[in-house]
Symmetry: C2
């Protein structure tokens, strides 16, 4: 999505060769009108593809997933990173490593919200190693639901997580794929159709 | 909001006299079309009131805050419950006790996203003791921004947090106020105009 690449170049901050800060419009502070345009692009990409639920993980993926769900007019479900008093005991779970926080989380979702007749679009804000998406995918598979695809706002192509998932046959759409970043702040994007 | 009260009566589950589970449409699984209607109601309540940012806390408030921001066409900002590598070091913070998780969190937000010329609408899904809203209010005050009001989807009126804030002069709007719940599952709502 050209507009997202341009926005990243304008407002993203390259903190190192591997860390990109987009907190001013995608995370912490969200330019919601722009995110709705991103969701429009997702709706265009999935036109004609059956989707009954959008599925994400707390917390930075929630806004993007909610915008997509609003455009597709389907519910959005989010995994929690810990069991709390209002989750219930019947859950699907998966262990996910967070490179941002440097720890492992057992992500959980109540079994009642995913069913074998669901067609699930997985959504997240960032895709790097792919750990979070793999956790979400394993939960969808455990539920018996079908995976319609996975969409992310920004993929770090150089980390390889997205291409590994594509090699496994998962449809993965990223609105922008960062191929490389250099300490002087320049960003190269992968060419997409 | 009558439609929300009816939805809570239909799909909410009273787990005890103090715990209401609304995970099938407000939290974990979100009926986003319905949440957009709730956001329409918030936009109606704040018609003519200046709002430049919607402000919430991760993670269950994010979807509601994002829907409100989409209707008001202003950015949404969310506090994080821990400092991560992409937050930055210049932050406003407040200590908030979570009754759901039974722990304290130091919520943080980058200073760059709240400014003295902002008019902030605080938003969250639930209001019980008011700890989360108090933390958000203290951060807005520290930034020098003005508080336009606080909106929540569901207030537990019997916990008193909302009325304490109102007594302090904060405008607090709750789309539904649960006055009492009984173990047989019946729910009584506070009458609102």
């Amino acid at each position: 999505m050209k507009a997202l690449e341009e926005r990243i170049k304008k407002d993203g901050i390259v903190l190192s060769e591997s860390i990109l800060k987009v907190g001013s419009f995608l995370n912490q502070q969200i330019d919601i009108d722009f995110m709705m345009q991103m969701a429009d692009e997702v709706a265009r990409l999935y036109d004609g593809v059956k989707v009954t639920k959008v599925f994400t993980i707390e917390s930075s993926g929630i806004a993007f997933a909610a915008c997509i769900a609003a455009k597709l007019h389907v519910p959005v479900i989010f995994c929690k990173k810990s069991i709390s008093s209002n989750v219930g005991s019947e859950v699907y779970s998966a262990r996910v490593h967070s490179y941002t926080h440097g720890n492992d989380n057992d992500i959980v979702v109540s079994k009642e919200y995913l069913n074998p007749d669901d067609f699930v679009l997985i959504a997240d804000d960032f895709l790097a190693s792919g750990c979070a998406l793999q956790g979400l995918i394993s939960i969808v598979r455990a539920s018996g639901a079908k995976i319609s695809g996975a969409v992310v706002a920004v993929e770090k192509g150089f980390e390889g997580g997205g291409d590994s998932l594509r090699a496994e046959g998962i449809r993965v759409d990223s609105l922008a794929i960062v191929e490389s970043m250099s300490p002087d702040g320049s960003i190269t994007f992968r060419k997409q159709q």
